[in-house]
């Protein structure tokens, strides 16, 4: 899981509340770091905080949301800015407009994590079932 925030204070707040919930996100402060992190590994969950971002950075994040099809993205920031990211693949309920609400972020992350665990489990079950079928072990 990764968190991007150009605002160091907001970034640290988000990181801290998540760590209290035993989630250890990778905190990134620049778009370059985001680019490198997602090229190395697609995150299961990403939080992109648009507060303090330049227009180009917001555009980059909006485009990135469209390409991260396996990632659940939570977008944070000014309501008007989030409206402009309408074209991205982000779910409406995962766009959390200011003021920053750490508890709501944690709640959304926990929901997404349990969904991911469930997805992973059902993916494992189906591969195992297919494999057993081919090997006549069912």
């Amino acid at each position: 899981m990764l968190v991007f925030s150009a605002d160091p204070l907001r970034g640290r707040i988000i990181q801290k509340v998540l760590m209290r919930s035993r989630v250890e996100p990778l905190l990134l402060q620049t778009i370059k770091q985001v680019r490198e992190a997602v090229s190395q590994r697609t995150p299961d969950i990403a939080i992109f905080d648009t507060a303090g971002c330049f227009r180009e950075e917001i555009n980059y994040l909006a485009n990135l949301c469209g390409t991260l099809t396996q990632t659940a993205v939570i977008l944070l920031g000014d309501g008007l800015v989030l409206e402009k990211v309408e074209g991205s693949a982000t779910r409406r309920d995962l766009r959390l407009s200011d003021p920053l609400d750490p508890d709501l972020i944690v709640q959304k992350v926990e929901e997404l994590l349990s969904l991911k665990v469930e997805e992973k489990r059902s993916g494992d079950d189906s591969l195992e079932d297919t494999l057993k079928g081919f090997l006549r072990l069912r």
């Binding site: 590994r41 591969l127 494999l131 081919f134």
Partner: protein, 300 residues
């Protein structure tokens, strides 16, 4: 000649899973950890390990050894131009893939006497007796698969065949011939569903010969397969490995399986096209990093 080398077999029960590429690069990674390595191409009849090292034509190969043109296997170790990595090129003389048993035993004897720290065997795909015999000689066998179902099926079947072969030898050597019969029945588990998994087999075996059954069970429980899942989309994507691990535990009573992953990496194709090992062509690639991690794990 020293006789203290360690033999590592690289096995890819399904062809085309990247076994030879992994073998060549693993040899280099081990040499960088201070080991003197000889990589031996035992994909008899379809050898191409030399090509990964960029060697177009070798002066000598296993053909020379098999046809008695040289006295010792060490006479055909060629230089790869990589420090501390030697290579025995595979042969392509007709029939080499079905080497006579005595010849194979001679080759095995010579492998154990090669003057190096690690002998790395690149074995043929499938689960022929050649592959089984060479892998039994190895102190460590690395099983290479991709996350796709056909490859996973072959890996499972290979390990199952190895378990049966090991049990067969054990029961025969210990005169437990009634358990040899039971093992034969276990091969047809659709007819004998109570023998579908090893737990069922050992329960039935215990009623016949409890000492032999318990000793055999320990042998199987102590098997420690080392599985390399190649071409995974992300470093910690161990899904395929986890499933094989679970199936080995549930059906074959193998308690512990080491799983390592190698990420899908286009640097591999680029390096192969240039006939250059990835560790030299793209030392910072995912593939190179993952291979180095595996080398650290197996260096002993």
């Amino acid at each position: 000649m020293a006789n203290a080398n360690s033999i590592i077999a690289v096995i890819g029960p399904k062809g085309g899973v990247g076994k030879t590429t992994i073998s060549a690069n693993l040899a280099i990674a081990l040499s960088r950890l201070g080991k003197k390595v000889v990589a031996v191409d035992l994909d008899l009849g379809a050898s191409n390990l030399h090509a990964i090292f960029g060697i177009r034509q070798s002066k000598s190969s296993l053909d020379d050894f098999v046809q008695n043109r040289v006295a010792s296997l060490s006479d055909i170790v060629v230089d790869t131009e990589i420090e501390n990595v030697g290579l025995v090129c595979g042969g392509d003389v007709p029939g080499i893939a079905n080497m006579p048993y005595q010849k194979k035993m001679k080759l095995i004897r010579h492998l154990t006497k090669l003057d190096c720290d690690v002998v790395l065997l690149d074995l043929a795909p499938g689960s022929s007796y050649n592959v089984a015999d060479f892998s039994i000689v190895a102190q460590k066998a690395l099983l290479v698969t991709t996350p796709e179902i056909p490859s996973l099926m072959n890996v499972y079947s290979f390990i199952k065949a190895a378990v049966f072969r090991r049990l067969l030898f054990f029961f025969k050597n210990n005169g437990a011939l009634e358990l040899v019969d039971l093992l034969e029945r276990a091969r047809d588990f659709e007819k004998y569903p109570q023998l579908k998994n090893m737990e069922g087999f050992f329960n039935a075996a215990r009623k016949i010969n409890s000492d032999a059954a318990d000793s055999a069970k320990k042998i199987i429980q102590n098997l420690n397969p080392f599985l390399i899942v190649n071409r995974v989309p992300a470093k910690n994507d161990t899904k395929a490995g986890r499933i094989i691990q679970k199936m080995l535990r549930d059906f074959l009573s193998i308690e512990s399986t080491v799983i390592k992953t190698i990420r899908e990496d286009r640097a591999v194709g680029e390096a192969l096209a240039r006939m250059k090992p990835i560790l030299l062509h793209s030392p910072n690639s995912f593939f190179a990093k993952d291979i180095e991690e595996i080398a650290r794990e197996i260096r002993g």
